[in-house]
Amino acid sequence: MGLRLIMYLVIIFLGGIVGYKRLVHKNIMGKMNLIQSICLLFLLFIMGIKIGGNEDVTSSFFRLGFQAIIISIFSIALSILFIMIIKKFMINDGEKEEGKNEF
């Protein structure tokens, strides 16, 4: 996975340079959005086939749905909580600088 991660990072970085330097002409950029969508939809379709062809997954679809709800609720709740914790510190900082609470 380590090598894979480095490969991902290199690819994202290369893409970043292309985007930052505007190496791709605007007209082509519009077409690239289309290519990106088609690529994404095709991959999701393949992913779907893999999911549908796997009996372990299809037989436990409702269990997975239930787990998904639990995980997403906890993720959202803790994200909000963590922001609440740092906000106090950010607002105090802001009050010193600007004398008012901006958030």
């Binding site: 999701l44 549908g52 436990s60 803790l78």
Partner: protein, 197 residues
Amino acid sequence: MSFRIILAVLGGILLGYFFSPEFILSNSDIIIDIGLCLLLFFVGIDIGKNKEVLHRIKEMGFKILLVPLMIILGSIFGSILAGFIIKLPVNESGAVGAGLGWYTLSAMMLTNYSSELSTLAFLTNVVREILGLMIIPFVAKHIGYLESIAPAGATAMDTSLPLISKSTDSKTAIVSFITGMILSTAVPILVPIMISI
């Protein structure tokens, strides 16, 4: 777009369930690997295009970066905590949480690990986006503007941004965009890290 996404996945599931196309199933790993690389390249382009973001971060001060950092920590710890309840290994629940609401990419990155976890990542992050869209106005009104960015996760820069912008003020909308940008960059890095723990 989200309708087409659901349609593509559902179409695939039905085809896989009823016909199990041998050729695709036996070559799906390599197809997804190549496609994922292409997709990540596009993600990089999108990130690179937003030059202003760096200036905005400097303008607002680097403490603004605490917002995406806390959302990452909250999402991953939250999902690991949920993982204890539903008896999921830490690396798996952590990887699902590291999807940060970006259901297409996180599910895709986990497909070759296991179809079951990939399904869970997809469902979890779809649910996160739906729940997020439902509670953002409530959170903005009763808890705080900055907190309303948290449920959105990586979608804070696209699908959830109009709602956050409507429910809060222009400054929070800018923070939301920056946050979504950083979270979107973090997803393809965090998911493989979490799964290999």
